[in-house]
Structure formats: C-alpha cells, structure tokens
C-alpha cells in the first residue's frame, strides 16, 4: 500500500474515534478497542506503563463499560446538565508500521468542553497502538497525555478524552 494511503486511513480512524466521543456514541467508541485494549491517561508524561502507578484513567473494556453504564444512568446527577465536547485532531505522525499492518501513531488534540454555561479547554497528545483486523483498525492502546496532566483540575473529567 502506498504510504499516503496509510496516512489517510490512519487519520480517518483518529477522526472517527474523536467523532464518536463528541457525538456520545459510547458503545461504538468502546467497540473500537481490541478485546484486550486499554485506554490510559497518565498523570505524568514520564510514565512508561499503565499498570502499577497512579492513572487519571487506566481502563480495560470492562471498566469502560462501568463508566459507560454510569454516564447513561438516569441518576448520574452530574450528567444531567447540558454538556458537550468538540475535538480537533491534528499533527498525525505514523511512528511505526509493522509487517502485519499494525501501526503506532502519534497525534495532537484540542478539546473544547461545555458544561452548563462554562467552557473549558484541554489539549495534549495521543499515542495510538492500532491493530489491523479484517474489520479495520482496533485500538490496542490509546494513551492520552494531557498538557495539564500535573496541574490541578478545576472540577473533573467524566468521560474519555
């Protein structure tokens, strides 16, 4: 496959991932992950592994389903007010391409979040380890390094970034 097609495919996948978050299609978003896929947001960019250290998020698919179930529960009080997000994904750079089609890709994102009348901005970088499958890419690892990982959070994050 010519290189530019790969770049295009990977970019489309990353855009789709962000689009599912912004349109709150949580189940479809979880389905993007491989069965043993992990969503990880470290509190420190120097962390090398998602296990055994504090993590803002460190979720396998089961835990993602706990979060999804909670967010959709009618009594998730903090989910009641108007809220939404808008992701921009950019600077997509393929780091590694394996013979079997798996890729490792870095990108940057900017997310605007609205909650009630308040706007917050978050930015950072993604590292995606993508597994090639018949149905397209599956996420083995989505690492999210927030620029503000070490800063105090004014209120919290409730769903994946």
């Amino acid at each position: 496959m010519p290189k530019n097609d790969l770049q295009h495919d990977v970019e489309q996948f990353l855009y789709y991932q962000a689009e599912l978050l912004d349109t709150k299609q949580w189940q479809a978003w979880i389905d993007l992950f491989a069965d043993d896929g992990i969503y990880w947001m470290p509190p420190d960019a120097s962390y090398k592994t998602w296990e055994g250290q504090p993590a803002i998020f460190a979720e396998d698919k089961n835990l993602m389903n706990v979060r999804r179930g909670r967010v959709l529960h009618p009594d998730a009080w903090s989910q009641r007010p108007l809220w939404g997000t808008n992701h921009l994904v950019s600077n997509v750079s393929i780091q590694k391409e394996h013979k079997n089609g798996d890729v490792e890709v870095r990108s940057r994102f900017h997310m605007m979040e609205l909650r009630r009348d308040d706007v917050r901005h978050f930015a950072g970088s993604y590292l995606h380890k993508l597994k090639k499958s018949k149905a397209g890419y599956r996420i083995q690892l989505q690492r999210v390094d927030m620029t503000n990982a070490q800063a105090a959070y004014d209120y919290v994050l409730q769903v994946w970034v």
Binding site: G52, P54, G69, H73, P74, A76, S78, V156
Partner: protein, 445 residues
C-alpha cells in the same frame, strides 16, 4: 451585608450556629472565611506532607497552610522545616515550583540572597559594603525566611502550626491519631511511603461542605447510585460469563454504593471527638480470602504474631476525619487534604500511600481504588463535587436562612465529650454538629 447585621463577627458567631442548625452565611460570607482562616487554619495543626516526599537534603514541596504559601523542606541534618515562601528582602517568593531540590541552600531569584534550609540567612551579595550602618545584615532575625511557629512529625506525617501556643500535635489529634496508626500498623514494616504524584482537584464550594460530606453516611447510596449500579451490572455479567475477564475487588467497592442501600447505612456508626474530629466505623469487605490477602496475612503474622496481627487488622475504621482539613481512609491508605482557596473555592490534594513490606498485589488493590474514586476522572467524587457546587449555589441564595443538621438530633450518646451515634442511627448528623461545635469554639477564642 453581614458586616452591618453583625458588626463584630467573632462575638456573634453564636448567633450563626445553633446545636441543630447553622446560618447559611457560615458558608458564603467572605468575612467569615477570613476569620476562620485566621482563627482555625492558621492556628491549628495543618497537614503539610509526608517525609518520603522529600527524602534527600534540599528536597522541597510547596504547600498552603491556611492562606499562607509555605515550603516544606528536608534539612541537611535530616530534619524537616516549614518556611513561609517569602524572601525577607523585598518579598519575592523563594520557590516558584510546586516541588524540587534546592541544593545546599535557597537562593532568591531577585537579588540572590541565600538562605539555609532552616530559613536562616546565609549570605547577601556584597553584604558588608551594602548594609554597613543599617539595621539589616547577618544576625538580625528579620533577615531570615520566617519559619512556621511549630512543626511536628508523627510516623512520617508532617504538620505545621502558625501559632506559637496551643496543644501539641498529639493533644490536638486525640483519638483521631488512629488515622496514622491504622495506616502504618497495616504495613509489615510499620511505615508507609508516599506514592507520587498526588491528584489535585478544585471544588467550587466552601471547604466545610466537603468536610461535612465525608462522614455523611446518608448520601452514598443516593449520590453514587449510578456508578454503583453500573459496576454491579458489569460484575454480574462477568459472574454469568456473558462478559469476559475477572471482576477485581475494586468493582465490588464501587458496586457497594448501590448494594448497600440507604437503610443499611444506619448500621454504621460515627464517633465524634473534641476539636471536630470524627471516625466512621464499618468495613467495606476489605478482608477477603483471596491468595493475595492470605500472602499478606502471612507476612503480617510473621512480623507481629497472631495476636497483634488480629488487633491491627480488626481495627474497624472506614474513614477518619481530622478537622479542619484532612480526610483519611486508613484501610485503603488514601488521604485527602483540604486547601481553602476562597469562600467558594477549595483545592483538595489526594494522596495514596504504600504499605512498606506488603506484597505488590496489596498496593495494586488500593491503587485501583485511588484511581477509580480519587483521580480527576473519578467515577465517584464527580457526583459529590456536583452536589457541593449545587449546595453552595443554594446557600448563596436567599431561598432560606438555615442549614439543617437535625437528623437523629437528641438521640446521640454522649460521654466525656465524645459523641457516638446511637445503635442503628449511623446516619445521624452528629459529625456535622460536632464540627460546628468545634468551629464556634475556635472562632470565639
């Protein structure tokens, strides 16, 4: 507003607080906030950090004590100092970073005055020529960085008080000292060490709203129902094998928020002590019989003997509240420190500790709780913080003047200044009444 109604705040605090109810201004009035910073947070023992955060000479962490920016630093002699983060020359902050190592001395970034770790002046550039004939120079204590009036360490936990006089740390803590004993005793080596880094989360509400929530046994099954149910669902699916994998103990801790229904919380008990401290008893199923726990038990028994081990492990504590600014879950080694930022803004620093000598799996278990409950992506505190904000909004309105603490009022059991919730009345608002009692005493002093 309040100023006109109540000209001398400290004398009139009694009109704001009745044994079973509290005026809303207590939470929303900026003047009262000022007064409580002066009379409470800047007088009593405030938690600064743990010695293992600053293992080497020159290691420091900046910390807020009351409203004061301070530096906790490890001295060359191995001791710890807590200093005001202010240069005696023209007032520059000494440390601009949250943490770091200052080397053998502090050096101000403005005019290069240098200070020893204990705050004493080391040197001023061209000191002799520059300060000859003035009253400034070496030997004048005004040239030192001002230290906290008192610093004490208990089992590695560092506290500072900005008041020269007052009870010792042990006297102040009283029976609430169990927070640190219970945590450390559960370690085979009798000590804990800090897990870097802490999570920091800002609440848009008065600091007392947080403190009153911590032992509020009535709220979990209501506030945290969504997460409890969701975790319980996934747990059930895993048990029925309609979902792959294994449910770790942490899911069980989450699902307990739904499975322990509102009526069952009355079975817990609160014990409320002088100075506003409280304990919530109860056990969250932390003593299972899995191989990890059994391996840990074995190490503990070898270290302490069977009898002492049973004593340690049998300490029946869910949560200890050290008023005015500390909430400790000792069986899970979690500690939340409150740093009031303003009348309606509160920073919480949330730390996790590792039991020295315990197997990795035991650490991982409480780490999972730390991540799920206390991280900035918390599945639990998110709804608490939502409530805190809503509470503060409501109290800032004129829709009512009083906050009610009437639940089981008059039915608590009191003996020698210690107030226990009566049997099957664990949801008594005794902890809130106890905190307000201490609050009034502090403000009148």
């Amino acid at each position: 507003m309040l100023q006109e109604r109540v000209p001398d705040l400290s004398r009139s605090v009694t009109s704001l607080v009745e044994p079973d109810r509290v005026r809303r201004e207590v939470y929303t009035d900026p003047d009262i906030f000022e007064l409580e910073m002066q009379r409470i947070h800047e007088r009593v023992w405030i938690y600064c950090g743990h010695l293992t955060q600053i293992p080497k000479a020159g290691d420091y962490y900046t910390v807020q004590v009351g409203r004061q920016p301070m530096i906790m630093v490890r001295k060359s002699d191995g001791g710890v100092a807590v200093l005001h983060n202010r240069c005696p020359h023209r007032g520059n902050m000494i440390c601009g970073d949250l943490k770091g190592n200052t080397g053998e001395f502090f050096r101000c970034s403005y005019h290069a005055w240098t200070f020893h770790h204990d705050g004493k002046l080391k040197n001023i550039p061209m000191m002799e020529s520059g300060y000859q004939g003035t009253r400034f120079g070496k030997g004048n204590p005004d040239c030192n960085v001002k230290p906290a009036a008192r610093v004490e360490v208990y089992r590695g936990f560092v506290f500072a008080s900005l008041a020269k006089d007052g009870p010792s740390l042990k006297e102040f803590l009283g029976p609430a000292i169990v927070a640190f004993d219970d945590m450390c005793d559960r370690a085979p080596e009798g000590e804990v060490e800090i897990v870097p880094n802490c999570f920091r989360v800002i609440q848009r509400s008065n600091w007392k709203i947080f403190m009153e929530n911590q032992l509020d046994a009535l709220h979990p099954s209501v506030t945290h129902q969504s997460t409890g149910r969701a975790a319980h669902e996934v747990e059930k699916q895993i048990a029925k094998k309609t979902r792959k994998g294994e449910a770790p103990l942490s899911y069980h801790m989450l699902s307990a928020f739904a499975t322990v229904t509102i009526d069952k919380w009355d079975g817990f008990q609160t014990i409320n002590y002088p100075h506003g401290h409280s304990i919530l008893t109860g056990y969250m199923g932390l003593r299972p019989q899995d191989p990890d726990t059994l391996a840990y038990d074995k190490i503990m028994i070898k270290k302490y003997g069977k009898k002492r081990f049973e004593e340690i492990i049998g300490v029946n504590i869910h949560h200890v509240l050290v008023y005015p600014g500390l909430s400790v879950q000792s069986p899970l080694q979690q500690l939340r420190a409150v740093r009031p930022l303003g009348v309606d803004r509160t920073l919480t620093e949330i730390w996790h500790f590792r039991l020295k000598g315990a197997p990795e799996a035991i650490y991982r278990r409480s780490l999972a709780y730390y991540n799920l409950v206390n991280s900035p992506a918390t599945l639990i505190n998110a709804d608490d913080l939502e409530n805190f904000w809503k509470c503060h909004q409501g109290l800032a309105s004129e829709g009512g003047d009083w906050v009610s603490f009437h639940r089981h009022y008059g039915r608590d059991l009191e003996k020698n200044g210690v107030v226990e919730s009566a049997p099957n009345m664990g949801t008594s608002e005794a902890p809130m009444r106890n905190q307000m009692k201490a609050w009034v005493q502090y403000l009148q002093d």
